[in-house]
Amino acid sequence: MKPIAHLIATVASVAFATSVIAAPAATNEAPDVLVKRISADVIDTVKSDKDIQAGNRNKIMDLVNSKILPYVDADKMTAQAAGRFWRQATPEQQKRLSEEFRTLLVYTYSGALSTIKNETVEFKPMRASPTDTDVEVRSQVNVSRGEPITLNYRLAKGDGGWKIYDINVLGAWLVETYKGTFTAEINKSGIDGLITRLADRNKQLASKPLNTPKK
């Protein structure tokens, strides 16, 4: 028993140490390499962690916050989803809107992560030239049955290196999908109304357990 427990502890601490070292990786990493690395890292973590598979929300949120969020440009995502209203918003409103939207996406993404089982991700060759500052990385998730799920990412190059600002799931871009809702809500009750709406939803999600359906 004891040696095994020891081994597990060692492996875990080594894994932790390498992930800490690996996290602030070179900023000149190519965008497709970056997405591949994050994706592999996250999937491996989920597959090897029983707590996450069981829907331990805190652990999943930690994973998202530490491994994914540093590479996401939440401001750009929010700006695009809000469209022309973004420029009408005060800096304070922009900040709050971006924060609430990011939190909502973290919750949603966490929910998706906990459903990973034996899927594999397959990346397609990237069509971009080295001088591009805005690229699309394409992949598909091969599931045990049915058509593979499209999963594409848009990345833009900024001061901090490449960052993801949009995701395409099953053919629909996230930002575009939210745009309709954002527009409707802002037209109805203004930017503050939208912020409140997002904040309420986030509060609701925070108190709700993950994984409602039993596996």
Binding site: Q80, G83, R84, L104, L105, Y107, T108, G111, A112, T115, S144, R145, G146, E147, P148, T150, N168, L170, G171, A172, W173, E176, T177, Y178, K179, G180, T181, T183, A184, E185, N187, R197, L198, R201, L205, T212, P213, K214
Partner: protein, 275 residues
């Protein structure tokens, strides 16, 4: 949902309803140019949602929890194999010879070595599944999608896809399955199995969406467009540029005709049935 016996007359009535709605255009209250029938659509969505919450989702959840995994896979594969046949036809109708022949090979392999389609050995062999339907074929040849339509029981669709649905139903081999009892039971199982495969996705939708109807609509329209383009939607079509003054242009580039695209014989939708 999918009982083949009496759907056609029902769908006919539905098409009439949609057409009437368009003619009267009393439904045109929506601000969204892609969704002039929003009022009708929302009512229909509420109806579908009730059916789903009270019947379909509980049954599908039970099915998912109780039925062994290999049975679920087998059921999904079996009906998937049937739909591959129609997918092959549509790929060929779109002039996509290679994809069409892949589908033909898939059906041939899975129907024989795959034990009547219970096993999807073709996917394991690297022959990718396509889900082409007649709505995509029309879209491929330039038929605009027209406005969004939420069909009662059948789920999200567009005017074009609704018009294409009778062809899709005609192309469904299970429709010709003979004793009626078997056909109806099978159709029921197919619906439950498809709903079960969407449980994770629909739970996510509930979390992600501020307004589930809008989220579903805007996601669905993009997805259909992407399917028509086989995943390669030209970027200028799909979206407005970063900082361009965003007029309220919605996802789909086709002209938004206030009246539904010309032929609207009978109704129904891919939506839940096809995916």
């Amino acid at each position: 949902m999918n009982k083949n016996m009496n759907t056609l007359p029902r769908m006919g009535g539905l098409a009439l309803a949609v057409a009437a709605c368009a003619v009267l255009s009393g439904c045109a209250t929506s601000a969204n140019p892609q969704d002039p029938f929003e009022k009708f659509n929302r009512a229909s969505f509420a109806f579908n949602d009730t059916v789903d919450r009270t019947v379909l989702k509980p049954v599908a959840t039970g099915y998912k929890n109780v039925t062994p995994g290999f049975v679920q896979t087998g059921v999904g594969n079996f009906f998937g194999n049937l739909s591959d046949a129609w997918s092959a036809v549509n790929n060929l109708l779109q002039g996509k010879g290679e994809a069409g022949m892949t589908d033909v090979t898939r059906v041939a392999l899975n129907s024989t070595f795959g034990i009547l389609g219970l096993l999807d050995i073709a996917s394991d062999a690297g022959l990718q599944k396509h889900n082409e339907d007649f709505g995509q074929t029309l879209g491929h040849w330039g038929v605009p999608s027209g406005p969004f339509v939420m069909l009662p029981l059948f789920g999200p669709s567009t005017v074009r896809d609704t018009a294409a649905l009778p062809a899709d139903r005609w192309g469904d081999p299970w429709k010709r399955k003979d004793p009626h009892n078997w056909r109806n039971i099978g159709s029921g199982i197919r619906v439950v199995d498809q709903r079960a495969s969407l449980l994770d996705a629909s739970n996510l939708l509930e979390e992600a969406a501020l307004d589930r109807y809008e989220f579903l609509r805007d996601g669905f329209l993009q997805r259909r467009q992407s399917q028509v383009y086989d995943g390669n939607v030209p970027r200028t079509l799909g979206e407005d540029a970063d900082d361009a003054p965003t007029t309220n242009t919605q996802v789909v580039p086709e002209p938004v005709s206030p009246q539904p695209a010309a032929p609207a014989p009978a109704a129904g939708t891919p939506g839940k049935t096809q995916q």
